[in-house]
Point group: C2
Chain length 183, copies 2
């Protein structure tokens, strides 16, 4: 069982998915999301980013971000959780273990951490260290892809916050994650 870890930061996620729960096609493609997202209007992303001082991502998300052609996290501390990544990129620190990552976040004084990407969201959920998640659902079924959520060793209850209809047929709901029983 995951136990509640001592930590000084809140972990927040915001992510877009298809109606069938995929964050990307199997090959990583998110054009289906971007093309529809252009009609969504204000998704709240800028407000979200203004709340966080630190971004944590896995290697897949990091490598996807590198394809954007610009660095979207200027002014944020960025940490990559990966056992494989080797990089001299001065924008990020790399942490091969979750405990090492959490120690580094504590040492850096992180207060509000963006859990960015499916792998980090799944890891943080399993470990009981995700506090809030905003899901923005696109009105499309893909039939296959990289799922937002994964296996768990217990049910995880959430409390619904705001729900709103965006442009382009998107629906956005924010949930807080209820603390589980400590194991």
């Amino acid at each position: 069982m995951a136990s509640s870890r001592e930590r000084a930061f809140r972990a927040l996620a915001t992510i877009g998915t298809s109606l069938d729960g995929y964050i990307a096609r199997t090959d990583g493609d998110i054009e289906w999301l971007n093309e529809r997202g252009a009609q969504a209007g204000d998704t709240g992303y800028d407000d979200f980013m203004a709340r966080v001082d630190t971004v944590v991502m896995g290697r897949n998300t990091y490598e996807k971000v590198l394809t954007f052609g610009f660095w979207p996290y200027e002014g944020k501390r960025v940490a990559v959780l990966s056992t494989k990544l080797s990089t001299s990129d001065p924008n990020v620190t790399v942490h091969p273990t979750l405990d090492g990552l959490l120690d580094a976040l504590a040492a850096a004084g992180a207060k509000n951490v963006y859990a960015d990407g499916g792998q980090i969201i799944q890891t943080f959920l399993r470990e009981g260290i995700l506090d809030e998640i905003t899901i923005t659902t696109a009105p499309v079924l893909l039939g296959a892809g990289i799922p937002l959520f994964g296996r768990l060793d217990r049910d995880i209850d959430l409390t619904r916050g705001d729900t709103r209809a965006l442009g382009g047929g998107f629906v956005q709901t924010t949930y807080t994650v209820n603390p589980g029983a400590t194991g």
Copy 2:
């Protein structure tokens, strides 16, 4: 590719899911949904049922309904799509093929058909014969179970209708299914 079939009825679905897209646990259990559903308030189910004259389901859903201890579809035509089911139940007709089912619905003059359960929803989506789906999402992650959606041979676009927050942290959104290209 699925082609648009000639048909005289509209097919509608309404279904509850977990936030990670499961309609039941792997063993078919839906107690997690029922216990939370008690706090949802009016889910619109009675209004929905008043719109339909016919219910179509797969064998798994039929066998689940039999465990309820009462027959919830009094006054509705009920058709089961199954190659395996053999029953003398006077409440239902059984159809081993989709074409046979559709012919029977046409012959019976079905106008508004409830596509009930994950298998029928997936089959109707793949075949291009689902017109509308209402998804009522419970604020819980199960981590595993029977998924609402399945594989597709193409993207399926939907148009969002009403979105509303129900009690108990449920969110309910109705989508119409956009006609796909005929194959």
